[in-house]
């Protein structure tokens, strides 16, 4: 783990050791640069919020962590990202294994057009996580419980996942993501389509999940970032403007831009 001292962004001391370390990350879509020389540490068992105005590259950056950008032909990622000490863009890295360690929940709930049970069971099945049928059932039920959905759907696990409400679908996607027991969960605006009640349920959920998981969340809601995260990183036009303790970012931001954004003057 090589420390880069020429950092412009501040790498402050954290409560816990970083599990994800990004250094000098550049991302290009064809000729267009979406992420410009970003370095950021994600501490373990904490919630890190990525904030910034629309189009600033939050999703792009988030997707670098589980190499989801690989599936976009025009997308080029350079720089160094380490997960638990390993370069995730290294030549020997198996993307499938990486993604089984780093799960993802998307902005728009995207359950498979299959039953609720199969939605959650799919991950464990392809990764061979269950020894028996009973065990698989166990995994599915615990995951649904963790995601706070089980009580609502316990009697209709055969029904298609697409028949649930928007908030339920998003929780189903979270259950699906935790069913493969990842270390990190990346969440891209998980609550953007939800009402305050569903949002509250999911925020509670995240709060309880951070015991076991490291969470990186992209959000447009300052309140949400303030409520759930311990760390916050502010992006603007593809650059990381400022990062650090949520508390200090919201109370005494070092940069004028950050100040303007969180007080609602840009964005």
């Amino acid at each position: 783990m090589e420390k880069n001292n020429t950092e412009e962004a501040t790498a402050e001391t954290h409560a816990s050791a970083p599990i994800l370390i990004a250094r000098d990350v550049d991302v290009f879509y064809g000729k267009k640069q979406a992420i410009k020389n970003v370095s950021l540490d994600i501490p373990e068992n904490q919630i890190t919020a990525l904030i910034g105005p629309s189009g600033c590259g939050k999703s792009t950056f988030l997707r670098c962590f589980n190499r989801m950008n690989d599936s976009i032909d025009s997308c080029q990622v350079s720089g160094n990202i380490q997960f638990a000490g390993q370069d995730i863009y290294g030549p020997k890295v198996d993307v499938v294994a990486l993604r089984s360690r780093i799960g993802m929940v998307f902005q728009k709930a995207n359950p498979f057009p299959k039953s609720i049970f199969d939605n959650v069971a799919y991950g464990p099945r392809i990764h061979g996580l269950s020894e028996s049928k009973d065990h698989l059932e166990d995994i599915v039920i615990t995951s649904l419980r963790r995601a706070g959905l089980y009580d609502e759907v316990s009697d209709r696990l055969d029904e298609p996942g697409t028949s649930l409400s928007g908030g339920q679908q998003q929780r189903l996607c979270i259950a699906r993501a935790i069913a493969i027991d990842p270390q990190i969960i990346l969440m891209d605006e998980p609550c953007s389509a939800l009402d305050p009640i569903a949002t509250a349920i999911i925020e509670d959920l995240m709060d309880s999940m951070k015991e076991k998981y490291t969470i990186v969340i992209v959000t447009h809601s300052m309140q949400q970032a303030a409520r759930v995260s311990q760390q916050t990183a502010f992006f603007h036009l593809g650059e990381l403007v400022e990062s650090g303790d949520t508390e200090s970012i919201f109370t005494k931001p070092a940069q004028k831009q950050t100040q303007n954004y969180i007080s609602g003057r840009i964005g």
Partner: protein, 425 residues
């Protein structure tokens, strides 16, 4: 509340009018196309309905051993090929005793189908204990008598131009008066192959030929087409090569079908030496022809599957192949099947490519597999439409009806499959 909100302004009136106008355009368009279709169907039906019935004549036949099996061997082949003509003739003469001269007897015999004697042979071979008895047997009338009975010959017209002369018609009338003429369901049409005699010609051989060809076509074109589409859409990088392939596929879809026939002739027949005139080669040629259609249809279906589905699977650590085959392809399958079946429906109607590989031919035998010689439904229609005998006119229309039924069945099957696959979600 200001009242202009609730009353119709001139602009609103215009909008309403446009709305109404478009509705009517649509309705008129539908009405026009439906009436064309009805017109076509009734024309075919009116012309072809007669083919489902045929005229039979009852003849008392003395199954004399001396004529059928003079040596008394009862060998099946001999019984089949026995000389039944005199038996039929004497049976007819019992009803029309006046016909004694050679020429008259010849004309009298022409009232029954040329195939009647062979038909009797088959019956006797199947039941040899008929020999020695006299039985009333219903045998097929000739096509000319059949047309007369169906009212398609005008007995008032000039005798010289009719194929049945006054004498023939008088004989038929005598037979009718004795209750020896009836029309019955034309089973032969559904159970036999082509024939030069309209009353003995059937569609089965062609229908099976079409079936086998389409089977081969499906088994080749469906997997090839879908794998190609999936590869190009899900795996291949966009570069010069894939662009080139794409352009070529689009061009192939527009190539006239006869070109595929020429290709089949050159490659399958001349190079690989596959058997000529068989559904195997026919199906392969049709597969080449439908492949581009299937690929193009499948690709556009695949493109319409939302990226979020792929993201969901890949976010869970599914590999590219797992994502594609667990999620994307099943979602696209109903659409790809529909595309395939539409492509095959087009293939079902093709004759041009089959001409080149020898499937446009006179074939009597019923094909039993993909390597037996066969024709296909449109080819049979084409051949019958081109035959001089009048009896083939109604057969042609009847064959078109069979082709339409085939098409409808295929489309229903497509709908069924789609429903089934969609209900699985």
């Amino acid at each position: 509340m200001p009242d202009y909100l609730l009353t119709t302004s001139p602009q609103m009136a215009k909008r309403h009018a446009r709305h109404l106008r478009f509705q009517w355009y649509g309705r008129v368009a539908i009405a026009v196309s439906i009436s064309f279709m009805l017109l076509m169907f009734t024309a075919i039906f009116v012309r072809g309905a007669g083919a489902f019935e045929k005229t039979m004549i009852a003849v008392d036949i003395e199954f004399a051993e001396a004529v059928i099996d003079p040596r008394g061997t009862r060998v099946e082949m001999d019984l089949k090929q026995g000389n039944y003509k005199p038996l039929i003739l004497s049976g007819l003469q019992e009803v029309v005793p006046s016909a004694t001269e050679r020429k008259e007897r010849n004309r009298l015999y022409k009232l029954v189908s040329g195939g009647a004697a062979f038909d009797l042979g088959e019956r006797v071979a199947a039941k040899p204990d008929m020999i020695g008895t006299t039985q009333r047997v219903w045998i097929a009338a000739s096509s000319e008598v059949d047309l007369y009975i169906k009212g398609k010959v005008d007995p008032e017209s000039d005798e010289a131009v009719r194929r049945l002369n006054d004498q023939d018609i008088a004989w038929v009338t005598t037979l009718q008066q004795e209750g020896r003429v009836k029309r019955k369901f034309n089973r032969v049409f559904f159970t036999s192959g082509d024939s030069r005699a309209p009353e003995m010609a059937g569609i089965l051989s062609a229908a099976l030929g079409s079936f086998f060809s389409l089977l081969v076509c499906f088994l080749i074109a469906f997997p090839l087409g879908i794998l190609t589409a999936v590869y190009l859409e899900e795996y291949a990088k966009k570069n010069l090569l894939t662009n080139l392939i794409e352009v070529n596929i689009n061009n192939l879809a527009a190539v006239p079908s006869i070109v595929f026939g020429l290709l089949g002739l050159a490659v399958f027949l001349n190079f690989f030496n596959l058997p000529r005139s068989t559904p195997l080669v026919g199906g392969m040629v049709l597969a080449l022809m439908t492949l581009p259609t299937i690929i193009i249809a499948s690709r556009s279906i695949l493109r319409s599957i939302p990226q979020s589905t792929r993201d969901a699977a890949m976010g869970l650590g599914a590999s590219k192949t797992q994502t594609t085959f667990h999620h994307v392809v099943p979602l696209a399958m109903p659409g790809m099947l529909t595309g395939t079946i539409l492509g095959m429906a087009r293939a079902l109607g093709e004759t041009a490519p089959l001409l080149m590989i020898g499937m446009v031919a006179f074939i009597v035998d019923i094909p039993k597999g993909i390597t037996d010689v066969a024709t296909s439904l449109p080819v049979q229609i084409f051949l019958w439409a081109d035959s001089p005998e009048k009896g083939f006119v109604e057969l042609t229309s009847a064959a078109i009806m069979v082709l339409l039924v085939f098409l409808i069945l295929m489309n229903l099957f497509a709908v069924y499959l789609r429903r089934r696959l969609e209900s699985r979600r």
